[in-house]
Every structure is written in structure tokens, then in C-alpha cells.
């Protein structure tokens, strides 16, 4: 089909049909070829009066098309209409139009504009991309955002699609305008045209259209280049043929040798339009006549040949009837007759006189050498006997068969695939292949959708319960989120200094998201005695040194907008009082939660609380809250729910959870239903004579105990792993990264789904630096946590440092290989100067200066990332 179209166009560049030519000049070719066939119908009616062929009665009305036209009914008085049927027919017609390409300078003399227009109606889409100076190969790049015309959508990461717009409402003319700055490094704009209505794409000599924006490039054949003729955009159609205004434009921006020349060019394009026509068949019998008269009329333009026959039984076996035949009838291979329909000015028709004893009239239409019109893959069948029963071919779709056999096959296949039914027609092999490929396609698309949904959405109750009949693959738990989370700590110890951190972070939202993070941890939001926020006072006052409550909401909204879940940093252990009690001790609270000293634990003499003994360790700088009090818990739950609702937090980072029993945390989490929660359970590792013990089981046991107390509703920072990494990396004791049972030695070795691994945070690093990760080894640390199970957390300072791209690469490797918090790690080496492990048999990692290469086993390993003292490989099945 495609080549045919081109061929005929080349020979006849201006002609596809007489009407087409006329219309081309109008540049409105589609209007009258449109699907609306009402004009034809009208003509059919009005012409009725001059219908007089061999018909003695003369007047013969086929159909009345419009409700206003009622008169013709009377003309049926002399003969009975026994049968009448109109079959819609869809044909593909070629319409020619123009593609107009213009490059010129905008009025402000700074920017340039590429305008691409199309004179054919349709839902045109410009599918385009750019290439940069120095690019090699033929890959496109996505244009920079500032070039995107309104309404553009990105297509993968290399192109965008921009719909054509009509400059005015009733124009058929469409255009896209692309503004750009000539000083950018863009070498060329590449595009192809797509028509959404038909799905066809339009290329230039089989390749992309290409508009070069630099003039020193060689013309490689498919380039549309400046011809030093500077065209004026045709405002009016009449100007079209000779509108070239000679002009030279040069761009004198600061840019040295890049001179752009404006140009204007037209290219013919041919569109295949589906045109609706109809075939009308009516049977009439005259009183006293032995024969019946079948009238066939169609509005398909051009010569139409009816290839016809009759049958005498239900088997629909073709037979050649007895004479008379209509004029222009020939016998075709003794099997059928061919009658050229007589033109009527707006279509053509023929009358067939038939014996009424015949059972049916069979036909197909032949439009030209290759085009046949049939009825849903079968012959048209007009029951004659049923002039008596008018049932017949009641269905009414016919399709053009020419050249469409294959695609029809595919459609049938989709039907069959969906229906699972083998229709009466037997399936052909080709069609079976199509069926498989569609099934494959469906599966591929579903897999794509699944992977994105899975990694970015929480499950809803309905999904959980859907899981009743299908095994759940993910369990969203407040402790783990989807299991595929990667956390970003979105602040450091200095973030409060500017007073507008929320706004600053908002600027970075999309950047953080694009690095591959799924969750971001924001600083403590409440009013606080200390500017960093960890000494909260009025919990409902969310104006802090990080910004106002409105800025916070705005930030959360932006973060959600880029697909990040947001953790609020909540300090539940302690709270600073507003007022002193009668002894001058600060233990009376104000604000919405105006608790008295009963809310303060009773075993901290500093604050003279009247509450119960603390359920955990005390934090001595502020009154510790007594979580055993019902009213305290009720108020805190309400507060957390309020934060969820009001601010939109998705989960929590729980400060200093060592200070109170994990069981209370469970209550808080059950009630506030976070998507993800992580607690800071911080205590010292075991050292003997100043040296860290190899076995840190006691340390991680305390963290695991706390997680247990929360009933697994929260995860915890894996302080143990951080501590061990310190020793292992600093002192080249990589053997420390293996515990006695062959597993990772931190919390991640025992309860990976609840371990939030990290190497640095606002306390340990940043300007506090009280337990800074060994300098220069950060990437080894990230290579470890970002390839291993557990939920890795990356510290803000590191993603704004020179580590950023390496971290980004590790994150994308983690996402690509779908490593999650429960992935299986197998440690293959833990020696003095090297540690190596494989994760889920898909990723291999080594850290340390020593040598390691993954063995070639069932998988073939290819090196994916490499940095200072670390390497990561991916399995290529």
C-alpha cells in the first residue's frame, strides 16, 4: 500500500482524483470527501425523477434520506418495494495536501521559530526531537523543556509529541510553532508527522525530516536546508503558489559562527482517508410482471464494476442468470457477470431484471484492479425469494478488501483473541502469528504497567483483598512501604539557617525524584526551642525555621506531584513546656495540647512530672512525655492523623524512639496508618579495649527488639551496619561484613525488610559530624547499602556533592534490577581488603581494594558500575 501511494503520487503529483485536484487548490481537500455522505443522498433523491432506463414505469425512488423529503413515497404506488437495504462501505481514499516548513526569526530578533504546518485536516501530531552539536549516531534527544510548545507530551526520553493547532477555528490548516534560542547547542530538529486519526506516520524519503540549525553541516540527504529563499507564510491560500519573497536573514546573536538562515518550504503529502460511501440495493416488483427489478446504486466515485451472479439455494453457489443483462455487461470466466455501473453524476447505478424464482443475488464491487468491496469478507447477498422474508443480510458492515487483508486479519484476530472463538472462517497461519504477537504485546504492556504501579503506589484495601484470589506480591506495611523504597533524607543540620528550606527543597523536588528516590524525609515541622526542630513546643504550630505551614503544604504537594512519598519527622519522646509550675519548673504545656505535669514522666527529677515512670530511656534536655497516659496517646494520635490529613505526610521518621516503649509506637502507627515509618533507635555499639567487637549481635538485637515491640509496624535505622562499615572501611577489615551465620552483620542481616540502612545523617555528618563516615569511602558505603536488601537512605549532603552521579547510577541500577528490601544476599567474599556479594543472582558487588571478579556461572556478568574501590556487575541472563 505504502509504496503504491508514493508511486502514484510521484507520477501524478497533483492528481489523485479530479475532485482532489480541485480541492488541493482550495487547500480543503477533506471537507467534501468526508465521512458525511448526506450530500450524496440528497442528490440521489433529487435525481429520482430522471430515472428511466428500461423501466417502463419511469419513476423509481431508492431511498429517502432526509426527513423533510417525504414526497417520493407517493411514487411507489405503481410498484411494491420488496426489499431495500443500504450498506455502508468504507474505502480508503488518497487526499493530497502540503506540509509547510518555515524557519524564521522572531520579532524580538533573539529567538528563532520553526513553524511546521499541514494543509490537510486531521489530528496531526508532530513527533520530534533534537540532536546536539557533536552528537554521533542518529539518536534523538528530548528537546529542552523551554522549547516545548504548549500541549507537548514526552515520549520516552528521546522525543516529544506536540499536537498541531489550528490558527483559527474553521481553518483546516494546522501548525506547530517551535521557538528556540539559536545560541543553544542544538544542531538540528528532527521530526516525523503522525496522523492520530489513521495512525499513519509521514516521513521524508523514508527518514526523519530534519531541519538543520547550523549551517556548516553537510547535507546528508534528508535534510531540509535553508535555500536562502525566505518565504513568507501564506496567510491566504491564494498566495500559495508563488509567495517566495527573496530575503536573507542572519542571526547576529553573540554566537560566533552559527548563522541561521530562514527558509520556507513546501512538501506534498498524501493522506489516506477513510471515506464512507454506501451501496443501496432495492428490489421492486411491478404488478403483473413476472420479473423483479433490482436496483443497485452507489455513491463511490469513479468506475465501479459489479461482479455478480445469482443463486438458487442457501449454499449461495454462484450462477449466471439468463438474459437480459444490463448494458456494459460481460461474462467473467463463465462464473459471473461483470457490469459497469452507469455514472449518475454523483456515483453510479445499474438495474438488473431477474427471475423471481431465484433465491438470491450475489455481488461484490470492483473499484479498480486491486480494490474490491465486499461484505464483511463475504459476498453481498440479496435475498430475492424474500422479497418474501426480508431478513437477509441484516448486518451492515462492509469493508474494503484491497490491500487490507493482513490488517483485517489482525483485527479479526483481536476479536478472536478476545472472544476465543474460531469463527466460521478457518484461521490462517499468518493470523495465528498475529494473535500471538498481540498476546505478547498485551503481556508486555501489562508488565510495564505492573512494574510502575508496583514501585510507586501503596496498595489499597481493595488491592489487598483482591489478593484473596491472587497471591499478593507486595505487602504494603508501614514499616516497608512497597518494599522497593529508596529514601532520601531531605535536609541537613544547617537547613534551618536560611529560613526558607521548604521553598529551596521544592525547587529540587523533580531532581530528587528523577534520581530514583521514592520517599523523602523532611525535617521536624513543629515550633521548636532549638532551630533544628528537635525540641518541639506547640505541636500544632507548624511554622518553623524551615518555613511556614503553607510552604510546607506546598512543598508536600510538589513532592507528591513528582511521585515522592513524604515522611514527617515527629518528635514524640519529649516536648518543651510553655509555663513553669509553682516550683518554677517548666512542665506545663500550652497551645492546643495544653497538658499539665501529668503528661511528664515521673522519674526525671529535672521536670517533676506527675506521670508514670518512663517506659524507655530519658532524654534529659526536655520534659519526657509519659506515653502511658491515655490522654497523651489520644492527643498524639489525633495530632498524627491531623498531620497526615492537613499536611499530607505519608509516613514518619520517629525521633529518639529509645525513650519510650515500642508498643506505644504501634498504637500511633496503627491509628495514623503511615505508608512508611522508620524509628531512630540509637545506642552504642560494643567495644572492647577501644576496638569494635566483631560480633555486634547485642546491638542489633536491641534494635530488633524495638521493631518487635512495634509489631513490625515501623522499621529502624540500621545503626549497626553503619558502625560496622566504619570499622571495615576505615581499617580495611572487610571481614567484619560477614557474621557468624554467613549473613550481613547489621540489622539488615536479621530483619532486612525493617532495616533502613544509611551511612550518614544530620547528626552523624553535616556540621555536627559526631560520627562521620570515613572520608573518601562514602561511595563504598553506598555501593553496599544501595545494592543490598533493606531500605537504603541517602543523606542530602551526598546528593548535592560530587557523589551525586555515582549515587544516581547505583539507585537506577537498584531499580532496574528490582532489588527490594527482602532481596536475597549471598556473601561470596569477606576478607581483609575485599568484600563481595551477589544479590538476587542479578547483581554482584565488591567493595574494598582487593581483587574480585564474579565467576562465570549460569549468568554472564557484565560490569555495570565502577568507582573508587568498588565495582558492581549485572547479570545478563
Amino acid at each position: 500500500m505504502a509504496t503504491l501511494a508514493v508511486g502514484s503520487l510521484l507520477q501524478n503529483p497533483r492528481l489523485s482524483s479530479p475532485r482532489g485536484q480541485k480541492l488541493l487548490l482550495n487547500l480543503k481537500p477533506l471537507r467534501s470527501l468526508d465521512l458525511d455522505c448526506s450530500p450524496h443522498r440528497k442528490l440521489l433523491c433529487s435525481r429520482g425523477a430522471c430515472f428511466s432506463n428500461s423501466n417502463p414505469c419511469g419513476k423509481f425512488y431508492i431511498v429517502k434520506a432526509s426527513s423533510t423529503d417525504t414526497a417520493p413515497i407517493d411514487t411507489f404506488s405503481s410498484a411494491d418495494i420488496l426489499y431495500e437495504q443500504t450498506f455502508p462501505v468504507n474505502r480508503i481514499e488518497k487526499v493530497e495536501g502540503k506540509l509547510l516548513i518555515r524557519l524564521d526569526q522572531s520579532k524580538d530578533q533573539l529567538n528563532w521559530r520553526l513553524t511546521i504546518g499541514c494543509s490537510l485536516s486531521g489530528k496531526w501530531i508532530l513527533h520530534w526531537g533534537v540532536s546536539y552539536v557533536g552528537d554521533t549516531g542518529s539518536e534523538w534527544d528530548q528537546p529542552p523543556q523551554d522549547m516545548w510548545p504548549h500541549g507537548s507530551i514526552p515520549i520516552k526520553d528521546y522525543a516529544i509529541e506536540t499536537p498541531f493547532k489550528k490558527p483559527s477555528k474553521d481553518d483546516t490548516f494546522h501548525e506547530v510553532k517551535i521557538d528556540f534560542n539559536p545560541s543553544s547547542a542544538i544542531e538540528a530538529i528532527h521530526f516525523i508527522l503522525k496522523d492520530e486519526e489513521t495512525g499513519a506516520s509521514y516521513q521524508h524519503k523514508g527518514r526523519d525530516f530534519r531541519v538543520s540549525l547550523v549551517n556548516y553541516l553537510e547535507d546528508d540527504g534528508n535534510m531540509i536546508h535553508a535555500k536562502s529563499s525566505f518565504g513568507k507564510w501564506p496567510d491566504a491560500v491564494e498566495q500559495l503558489p508563488n509567495m517566495v519573497l527573496k530575503a536573507e536573514a542572519s542571526c547576529d546573536s553573540k554566537n560566533e559562527n552559527r548563522r541561521l538562515e530562514g527558509f520556507y518550504e513546501e512538501q506534498p503529502i498524501v493522506k489516506e482517508v477513510s471515506v464512507g460511501n454506501m451501496v443501496n440495493v432495492a428490489i421492486r416488483k411491478f404488478p403483473d410482471a413476472a420479473n423483479i427489478v433490482l436496483h443497485l446504486e452507489t455513491d463511490i466515485p469513479g468506475d465501479v464494476v459489479v461482479h455478480w451472479g445469482v443463486c438458487r439455494d442457501d449454499a449461495k453457489t454462484w450462477e449466471i442468470p439468463a438474459v437480459p443483462y444490463p448494458p456494459e455487461t460481460t461474462v467473467f470466466r463463465n462464473k459471473a457477470l461483470r457490469t459497469l455501473l452507469q455514472p449518475t453524476g454523483n456515483g453510479s447505478r445499474a438495474l438488473f431484471t431477474l427471475d423471481e424464482k431465484l433465491d438470491g443475488f450475489l455481488f461484490v464491487l470492483k473499484l479498480d484492479a486491486n480494490s474490491w468491496v465486499n461484505f464483511q469478507g463475504n459476498d453481498f447477498y440479496i435475498p430475492l425469494s424474500s422479497a418474501r422474508s426480508v431478513k437477509g443480510q441484516s448486518d451492515s458492515e462492509s469493508e474494503e478488501t484491497s490491500g487490507k487483508a493482513h490488517t483485517d486479519g489482525i483485527i479479526n484476530e483481536i476479536r478472536n483473541l478476545v472472544s476465543g472463538l474460531n469463527s466460521e472462517k478457518s484461521l490462517q497461519t499468518k493470523v495465528k502469528e498475529a494473535k500471538e504477537s498481540i498476546l505478547n504485546e498485551i503481556e508486555k504492556l501489562a508488565a510495564e504497567a505492573y512494574s510502575i504501579f508496583r514501585s510507586s503506589t501503596p496498595s489499597y484495601p481493595e488491592e489487598d483483598s483482591d489478593a484473596d484470589d491472587a497471591e499478593p506480591t507486595i505487602n504494603i506495611s508501614s514499616g516497608t512501604g512497597s518494599g522497593f523504597e529508596i529514601l532520601c533524607q531531605g535536609f541537613n543540620w544547617e537547613s534551618n539557617k536560611s529560613g526558607r528550606w521548604y521553598m529551596e527543597l521544592k525547587e529540587k523536588a523533580s531532581e530528587i525524584s528523577s534520581l530514583g528516590f521514592t520517599v523523602i524525609w523532611l525535617p521536624p515541622p513543629t515550633e521548636s526551642v532549638s532551630s533544628e526542630g528537635y525540641m518541639p513546643k506547640d505541636l500544632y504550630n507548624l511554622n518553623s525555621r524551615y518555613g511556614t505551614i503553607d510552604e510546607l503544604k506546598d512543598l508536600v504537594k510538589s513532592l507528591h506531584g513528582v511521585g515522592l512519598k513524604v515522611l514527617g519527622d515527629v518528635v514524640l519522646n519529649h516536648r518543651c513546656a510553655h509555663y513553669q509550675n509553682q516550683n518554677g519548673v517548666w512542665n506545663i504545656f500550652g497551645g492546643r495540647l495544653n497538658w499539665d505535669d501529668r503528661a511528664v514522666v515521673g522519674d526525671d527529677p529535672h521536670f517533676q512530672g506527675r506521670g508514670n515512670k518512663s517506659s524507655g530511656d530519658n532524654f534529659h534536655a526536655a520534659p519526657n512525655i509519659d506515653h502511658s497516659q491515655d490522654f497523651v496517646r489520644k492527643d498524639l494520635i489525633e495530632w498524627l492523623c491531623w498531620l497526615r490529613e492537613e499536611i499530607g505526610y505519608d509516613g514518619w521518621r520517629l525521633d529518639f524512639v529509645r525513650g519510650f516503649w515500642g508498643g506505644y509506637v504501634k498504637d500511633y502507627l496503627d491509628a495514623s496508618e503511615p505508608y512508611f515509618a522508620v524509628g531512630e533507635y540509637w545506642d552504642s555499639l560494643s567495644y572492647t579495649y577501644g576496638e569494635m567487637d566483631h560480633n555486634q549481635d547485642a546491638h542489633r538485637q536491641r534494635i530488633v527488639d524495638w521493631i518487635n515491640a512495634t509489631n513490625g509496624t515501623a522499621g529502624a535505622f540500621d545503626v549497626t551496619s553503619k558502625g560496622i562499615l566504619h570499622s571495615a572501611l576505615e581499617r580495611r577489615e572487610y571481614w567484619r561484613l560477614l557474621d557468624q551465620k554467613g549473613k550481613p552483620p547489621g540489622v539488615v542481616g536479621w530483619w532486612p525488610s525493617r532495616a533502613v540502612t544509611f551511612i550518614e545523617n544530620h547528626d552523624t555528618g553535616s556540621t555536627q559530624g559526631h560520627w562521620r563516615f570515613p572520608g573518601g569511602k562514602e561511595m563504598q558505603g553506598y555501593a553496599y547499602i544501595l545494592t543490598h536488601p533493606g531500605t537504603p537512605a541517602v543523606f542530602y549532603d551526598h546528593i548535592v556533592s560530587h557523589h551525586r552521579s555515582e549515587i544516581g547510577a547505583l539507585i537506577s541500577l537498584r531499580n532496574r534490577n528490582k532489588i527490594h528490601c527482602r532481596s536475597i544476599v549471598e556473601i561470596v567474599k569477606a576478607e581483609r581488603d575485599v568484600y563481595a556479594a551477589t544479590i538476587d543472582d542479578r547483581v554482584a558487588v565488591k567493595i574494598g581494594p582487593g581483587y574480585y571478579e564474579p565467576p562465570s556461572g549460569p549468568q554472564r556478568w557484565s560490569l555495570a558500575l565502577e568507582g573508587y574501590d568498588y565495582k558492581v556487575w549485572e547479570a545478563s541472563s
Binding site: K64, K205, S274, L439, I452, A467, I474
Partner: protein, 535 residues
Amino acid sequence: MEVSVIRSCSQATNLKTELGFKDSRFSFGKFNEKLFFRKPNSVSFQSPLRRGKSGLRITAQAAQSDPLPKSKSSTKSKTLNRVRLFAGLPLDVVSGGTVNQFRAISAGLKALKLLGLEGVELPIWWGVVEHESMGKYDWSGYLTIAEMVRKAGLKLHVTLCFHASSQPKIPLPEWVLDIGKTKSNIFFKDRAGKPYRGCLSLAVDELAVLNGKTPMQVYQDFCESFKSAFSAFIGSTIMGITMGLGPDGELRYPSHRGFAKSDTVPGAGEFQCYDKNMLHLLKQHAEACGKPKWGLGGPHDAPANSELPTANTFFKDHGGSWESPYGDFFLSWYSSQLIAHGDRLLSLASSVFSDSAVNIFGKVPLMHSWHGTRSHPSELTAGFYNTATRKGYEEVAEMFARNSCKIILPGMDQSDKYQLKESLSSPESLLAEIGTACNKHGVGISGQNSTVGAPDGLKQIKKNMLSENLNDSFIFQRIGAQFFAPEHFPLFIEFVRKLNQPELHSGNLPTKEGTTTATDSVHTRSNLSIHMQSA
């Protein structure tokens, strides 16, 4: 200059061609339904529904003498294939004006199209669109979706959600909640006075509680804004609109609060007539009935929300207050308020969209627990006065019929077999009851699966799709990770394929269509249009 045309997407092209047909047929179907079935003798050709050639073709046919006996068409209409299958988009597919998981949605749409689904359902939230302030609408995200759906060659069924969602959290518009902070009586309240913030109380429908406007006016403005924003899609891509009627969009009171867990026996639910305005209406009504003392509150002996029906005497099988004159007084009033509310909203929707080629739907809940008792407590508290001795769904179906609206019934995946014995639940018989009422009043039924899911759900859905209970469409809830998961999606493909093989399950088929059972939706629609032509 030469230009080559490549038809890389020839398959898509033809799909589109097919679709064009479906499309116009569908609208024709409605055209007929409204104009022909009801008043066969007053055919009007001025319908705005006619588009393109098929419309015209049909016009020509319609004016012609009747070629097919009518009875034929009505028997033909009962094939499974008439039911068009939709899948619901994620509830939070749009938030804050952006489309979430854009790529996943677009891949998903393609997969559904290839699978042969008719279209997708899109929940549009009041709390998202009119989030900030009254009259300020942001349709952008939803328009993007509509465009994606149109591009994918699918149809769109829009659900206008005037309620809130708890999971994912989509509250009512902020400004409404703000008003609610001071005027908690715009919300339903239970006996303990606890407000339900998931939707507005039906008692304020006509009260100017929202910055001087009544909720009805606000809903109307919303619908009209929707109509103008989506004018390019309505009637072509958007073929159906569900009007939100209450909690979870359903026509009911929020009688069952909190999460329903599948492994616990649900309570009877609680009457929700305790907000100031409901109480006021009740008082007026009681006084009008000459029983002023009956208007002081709800039934004193009804159990609380999570309590079993047996916890108190109101619902007792024998001698319960529900059967007393007071019970009848209260239940009649309570249910009629709900029906009047549904009537208000559906007639609003019908009038706003009267000149659009869309069907209007409303959702009725399937309150199937305790259906086995005589008093049907769950139905009563939800506002359906349907008991062992009273057919309560008649009035509901009649109200839908009056507004020419179709009904959406959820819970089509629930089968009796998997219900907890203790809850005396029977989703199947309740469904049949509602189905009968609808059929009697000529109300079309569209099905949905329940949001909680059910074992063997797909099997049950198929069973329902083959039965009288379903005759318009089915909306599968809903796409997302679980839907596309390797454990589920293949089952769904299988489900879709089997749906179209009714002959393998002929036991379930009410009638056989001869040997040429329509093999796919395209053909089916052809059949449909033929009936219409004949009408």
C-alpha cells in the same frame, strides 16, 4: 520532493475504523432507546446524536417500513455480548492536577484496548477538582486522562465523586471541610453525634450552607463546569456518567462506618439521622403525621454501628420494633429521604446532560449482610426499606426509571458460598431482588465488583454477566499494581476471553441465538443496531 507514507500502525488504524462504528452505533442505541422504544411513532430527526454516516444511514432505515418483527429484537438482546466491559482507573490517578504514573496508565490503556475492553472508568473527585475554593475548578489532570483514553481508542465512563475516599486519602474539598469545622451539621451524624466527613448530609441538599449556595447548586455548577470542560469528549469518548449519590458514591446513608474486614461479622449498621438538619426534618415529618413524640430522635432500641443486630430489639426477627407502626413510620421516612435525595441528584444530572449523548448512572449499594434475617438490618440502616415483607427496591428502581438513569450495582463478584455463615448474608439473592425491580421498571443495570474483593470473584462476575442481573456494562474495579500483577492479569485475560464464549457455558444462557452467536463486541453491536433499526 517525495514523501513516503508509512503505515506503521495499520493495525491501530483499522481498530479505529472499527471503533468509529461502535461509537456511532452506541449513540444510536441510546437515540433509539429514548426515542424509539418509548414513542415509536414520534420519531424525531433533529437529534443531536446523529453524527457521521452511520447516523444518517440509520435515519434512512428508520423511516422505512418495519422490516423485522419486534419480538425478534427483544429476544436477541439477551446475549452476554451486549455487556460492555470497562476497567476502573486508579482512584488517585489524578492528584493536584497531575496524572500519577502516567507511563503505567498509558501502557495499561494500550493493553486493555488490545484485550478488547470497551473503555475505562475514571473517578473524578470533587475534592481534587474544586479543591481550593468554591467555583474554582482544575480539570487539567482529568482532561489529560480523557485525551489519553481517546487516543487509546477507548471509551470513558466518568464517575463524579462528591464524596471522600479513605484509601487512598482523597478528602472533600478543603473549603467544604473548613465550613464543616464550624458547621458540623452539614455532615451525617450517628447517635453518638460523630460526624461522617465522607460526604454531605442529604438533609442540607437544599440549604444554603456552602458560602450562600446550596449543595445542589454547587453540584450543579460542578456538573456544568465538567460538561463545558469536557465538551470535546462527551458523547464521543465519554459515553456514560455516574453521578455520585453519597458515601462511596452510593445511594445510601453512611451506616457502616470504619473498615469492613472480610473475616469479621459486620454489625447491623447505625441509623444516621442525628445531624441537626435530619432531626429537624424528622421532627417536621412526625408533627405532620400527628405523632410529635416520634420525631424526637431515631429508634431508641437500634444497636450501635458495630453491634450485631441481635444486640438490641429493633431488628429482632419476631416482634422487633421494625415491624411496629413506629418502625414503619421511621423507616418509611428514613428511606424516602434517601430516595428523594437520589431523585434530586439524578434529575439534576439528567437535565444538565440532557442534550449530551451520554447515559447517566447512579450507584446503589449491595447491603447483603443480614439479608437472611426478616428485617434486613444492613439495608434498613443504609436507607433501603426492604424487608421480608416489603419490596423496598421498587421505589428505588422507579426513581431511576423516572430520571431515565441506569443503575450501577457493585458486589457482582460476591457469592453466597463465601459469606460468613454468621452474617446471614446473601449477596446473590439481594442482587436478584434488585435486578428484578430494575427489570420491572426497565432500568438498565451496570455491574461492578466489590472493592473488598471475593474468592472466585471472576467466576461469579461471569455468572452474573450471563444472567438477567446485568444488561448494560460491567466496570471492573480497578487497575493498579495488583490488577497487572502476574498472579492476576492472566486470570483477567482468561476471564475476558471466556466471557465471549458463552456456548461453553450454555447452561447459564437463557436463550441460544442460533448458530451465529455474535462472536465479538463489534458484531454484537451490529446486531444491536439492527434491532434499533427495526424499532
